[in-house]
């Protein structure tokens, strides 16, 4: 939620980041402060439109005087805090977390994962070929989107977007516990039997591609998905008076998916089923009929 206009002025607190004095508005997170100072702290479960669950722990930093590392995405700045973002200890935890994730899930569609794995020298293979994996088959149970939980890092973002933070539909929740925890509908029924209203806001926030448009999923399977060849056009949804912003992702003159700008102060990237999935009529070309 970067662009909420008209916020009352906030007090500034003083802290140091890697020895440099900085000031940050009261209530902001260490991550906000780091980003404002131009520091690149990796994040996975943090989302710009959601309250982070701080579950992935790749953003950990060292706070002077604390026994454990702190998640930068959630820890609020405090007056006089001394924070180190790039210590041996923090880097070690990030490296291991990346190894743990990449050894148990498929991170091939997680943006920046490969870059961080390289940067932190993570070696997911070192747990051996027998290392337990999430091992899930993609759930293809409707025509609109696919849930491929083999790629899920359990960041809780989709649950929060579906539930109390945005959509208030509560079609999915975390079920089970420990390594067996999975995002699930009630009784693990197919999406079509669940409370899902196909707003697709969960896809919008999923950081790994575990949730994706059926179009994208099919094209990836067929090897025709080519992000470099896609154009993005932001326009206005024409279905109803709300007038949400839509970003159309177009490849070879076909809409392949629809997202929405997160900095829109009204919708924060959320859409309804019509705006998100109801684009077929736009490309109902003569040559596509019958």
């Amino acid at each position: 939620m970067t662009a909420i206009p008209l916020r009352p002025p906030r007090r500034l607190v003083d802290l140091t980041l890697d020895g440099e004095p900085v000031r940050a508005p009261e209530g902001s997170t260490l991550l906000d402060a780091c980003r404002a100072a131009g520091k690149d702290v990796p994040t996975l479960c943090q989302g710009d439109t959601l309250t982070p669950k701080n579950a992935c722990r790749v953003c950990v930093v060292e706070v002077e005087g604390a026994r454990t590392l702190a998640p930068a995405c959630s820890r609020r700045v405090e007056q006089g805090m001394e924070v180190r973002t790039d210590t041996e200890r923090a880097r070690h935890s990030r490296k291991v977390v990346l190894e743990l994730l990449a050894s148990s899930t498929d991170m091939s569609t997680t943006p920046r994962a490969a870059e961080w794995i390289e940067e932190y020298g993570a070696e997911p293979e070192r747990f051996g070929a027998d290392a337990a994996r999430v091992d899930e088959e993609p759930k293809v149970d409707n025509d609109l989107y696919v849930r491929d939980y083999d790629k899920c890092i359990l960041c809780y973002k989709c649950v929060d977007a579906c539930g109390e933070q945005w959509q208030n539909t509560f079609a999915i929740a975390v079920a089970g516990r420990g390594f067996d925890a999975r995002i699930s509908t009630e009784h693990d029924v197919p999406l079509t039997d669940s409370a899902c209203v196909y707003c697709g806001n969960c896809i919008e926030v999923c950081p790994t591609g575990a949730l994706s448009f059926k179009t994208e999923f099919d094209m990836r399977e067929a090897g025709t998905w080519d992000e470099a060849a896609q154009t993005e056009t932001t326009t206005v949804c024409a279905y109803c008076g709300v007038g949400c912003n839509l970003t159309l992702h177009v490849q070879e003159n076909e809409i392949v998916k629809v997202t929405s700008p997160h900095d829109n102060p009204v919708t924060h990237g959320n859409l309804c089923i019509k705006g998100r999935f109801g684009y077929q009529h736009v490309q109902n070309h003569a040559q596509n009929r019958d």
């Binding site: 722990r57 516990r177 409370a195």
Partner: protein, 612 residues
């Protein structure tokens, strides 16, 4: 909320179980069969209904107690009654080990395979059950058995607990267990032999000089009058005379620190809670002792239940809470029965309720049963569990004293800590503080199990040494090691027995008192097996919320599997791996479970030379 309920209907039994807890449904919106004219014009639900979400866990228990498992129809009906989205209800039901969402027989026997029971021969019991009854989980002769984490019966290891669902659920504790006795208890739990009295777990029972255990074996745990005849309710009377601030002052000056493992000063916690402007305040008693090897709270609750109730009342008075939740682990049927009786009697006699002892102070206690999740002993996971959410720890800050149960200021204390408040008020802070050492005052309860002659709960003044404790319990001839502090603690070598049992003393020795577990292992023990069991325990009990713990505990277990028969150079690679993963778990996990999951293994490698 887009509440959508499937077509599955509850059975009559399931409906009756839920209605017995919540009362009959008032309208079709709540799951009544017939739609009335009013129902068509008026929707019920909304905030008022959602505020009953905290009844989800009791509701799940109601279903599970009645049928033995939780069906789609039953869960949907419960969710409809409470306006809980079924996906969330399912997420909560699948979080707890004592619930099943797949059909299973009405009788389930939980056979403990944890540390003390493993040392006591649980593997053989399981093997025999496998032979006679069938593999774990299968329903031979109408009952299923399954391996279980610590049941808190370590002094009588190996232990088993049979639970039979039905209109009046039945439980039977079998300890020490043989396959034959377990099978008997499974077929007729109501006929199982009575448990020995709580005092049997206290080798020192009825001797002089005990403080916390002094009434165990002396009073009739069912009798309020007997409790009062043995000094009961004198502390609460003194508390009323001192006033809330006075009570906090005594507790602070007595130097009482929490006995749950973190050793936080109780007085400071209470005064921070009392001072919060936000209201109401809550008190939570953490009676979810699930640390493998711990059973002292069970013995206290079974042997002297009114003491806990009185202590909770004092704590409520001091912190300004009018409601106390007693979060009791689900595996303690006898403690549950005794506490229920004690609370009812205390209430009917004016020791709980709107006007406690005629002093104008309102306080009542509600028991919440856990359902098999070690993590719910974490102070913030308890809140989520009570609120009807998954028992996942919250990240701190904010701390419970500021935002705890239902987002309100909350003091959380475990049973042993609370019971300490009684002698403090009766003897006064200075007298109390004379026992123990400067920074560890009073006495401490230790749960001694494993290969000793007299396992049980021991009470010693802080500062006694491990050797002195072991002398009381009768140590084995060939001592291999002592696991101090439980699965989250550390090992101590036979040449380190002079370590003083204080918070500072154990810390200086590089270990911890934790919750007071003293698991004694003799030379016959297979250390790699014990370590594997510890790793398995953490992997099983991780809530799954954060990556270092969710995946780290799995990788730790895998490495220990590989290490089982390896030593020296062949082990070096995996030991290095364990260290790296362990460091990240300790540094980057959200809560204490992940942060301590590597402690015991590390100490076995570094101090005992495991895998050398």
């Amino acid at each position: 909320m887009d509440l959508r309920f499937g077509d599955s209907k509850p059975t009559d039994e399931e409906r009756a179980a839920v209605d017995a807890l919540l009362g009959p449904p008032e309208s079709a919106w709540e799951g009544a069969d017939d739609r009335t004219d009013t129902d068509l014009r008026w929707a019920r639900g909304g905030r008022e209904a959602r505020e009953r979400r905290e009844l989800l866990l009791p509701g799940l228990h109601a279903l599970n107690d009645r049928v033995g498992w939780i069906s789609e129809g039953g869960l949907d009906y419960l969710c409809r009654r409470l306006t809980v989205p079924p996906a969330e209800g399912y997420g909560v039901a699948t979080f707890y080990a004592m619930f099943a969402v797949k059909p299973r027989p009405a009788t389930v026997v939980h056979v403990c395979t944890d540390l003390a029971c493993a040392a006591g021969g649980s593997a053989q019991v399981c093997a025999e059950l496998e032979r006679d009854v069938g593999p774990a989980g299968s329903a031979g002769s109408g009952a299923a058995w399954q391996p279980s984490p610590c049941l808190g019966l370590c002094e009588r290891a190996p232990a088993a607990l049979a639970i039979r669902a039905g209109e009046t659920p039945q439980t039977a504790v079998v300890a020490p267990a043989t396959a034959g006795a377990v099978a008997d208890a499974a077929s007729a739990p109501h006929e199982a032999a009575a448990e020995p009295p709580a005092a049997a777990a206290v080798p020192q029972a009825c001797t002089d000089g005990l403080v916390l255990l002094r009434r165990v074996g002396v009073v009739d745990p069912g009798s309020l009058d007997d409790y009062r005849a043995h000094g009961g309710y004198a502390a609460l009377r003194r508390a009323f005379a001192l006033g809330p601030a006075g009570v906090i002052r005594e507790v602070t000056e007595a130097g009482l620190v929490g006995r749950g493992g973190a050793a936080f000063p109780t007085g400071r916690k209470w005064s921070a809670t009392a001072q919060q402007p936000d209201h109401p305040h809550y008190l939570v008693c953490n009676a979810d002792e699930s640390e493998p090897g711990t059973f002292k709270d069970r013995v206290l609750m079974e042997g002297d239940p009114y003491a806990l109730i009185e202590a909770m009342t004092v704590a409520g008075y001091a912190t300004g809470a009018h409601r106390g939740y007693l979060y009791l682990r689900g595996e303690y049927p006898r403690a549950l029965r005794r506490l229920r009786t004690a609370i009812d009697r205390a209430r009917s006699r004016g020791f709980l309720g709107k006007d406690v002892m005629g002093q104008g102070f309102a306080f009542d206690i509600e028991i919440r049963r856990g359902a098999g999740a070690y993590i719910c002993g974490e102070e913030t996971a308890i809140f989520n569990s009570i609120e009807g959410q998954r028992g996942e720890p919250r990240s701190k800050p904010p701390f419970p004293v500021e935002k705890g149960l239902f987002g309100k200021p909350t003091a959380v204390n475990n049973v042993e800590t609370l019971v300490n408040v009684l002698p403090i008020l009766i003897e006064g802070a200075p007298a109390y503080a004379r026992t123990g050492t400067g920074t560890s005052t009073g006495t401490k309860l230790f749960c001694v199990s494993g290969t000793v002659a007299r396992p049980g709960v021991y009470e010693l003044p802080f500062g006694a040494t491990l050797r002195e404790l072991l002398e009381l319990a009768g140590p084995p001839e060939a001592l291999r090691a002592v696991l101090l502090g439980g699965a989250a603690g550390g090992f101590v070598r036979p040449d380190e027995l002079d370590v003083p049992l204080t918070f500072e003393g154990t810390r200086a020795a590089g270990t911890t008192l934790g919750s007071g577990v003293v698991l004694v292992l003799d030379e016959g023990v297979e250390l790699p097996r014990i370590l594997l069991r510890i790793a398995e325990f953490f992997r099983d009990e991780s809530c799954g919320q954060c990556v270092p713990c969710r995946v780290g505990t799995v990788r730790q277990e895998e490495a220990l599997h590989r290490l089982k028969d390896r030593t020296g150079a062949a082990a070096a690679g995996d030991i290095a791996l364990l260290r790296e993963v362990g460091q990240a778990m300790r540094d980057a996990s959200i809560c204490g479970l992940g942060q301590t999951a590597w402690n015991a293994v590390e100490s076995a490698i570094d101090r005992l030379g495991a895998f050398k």
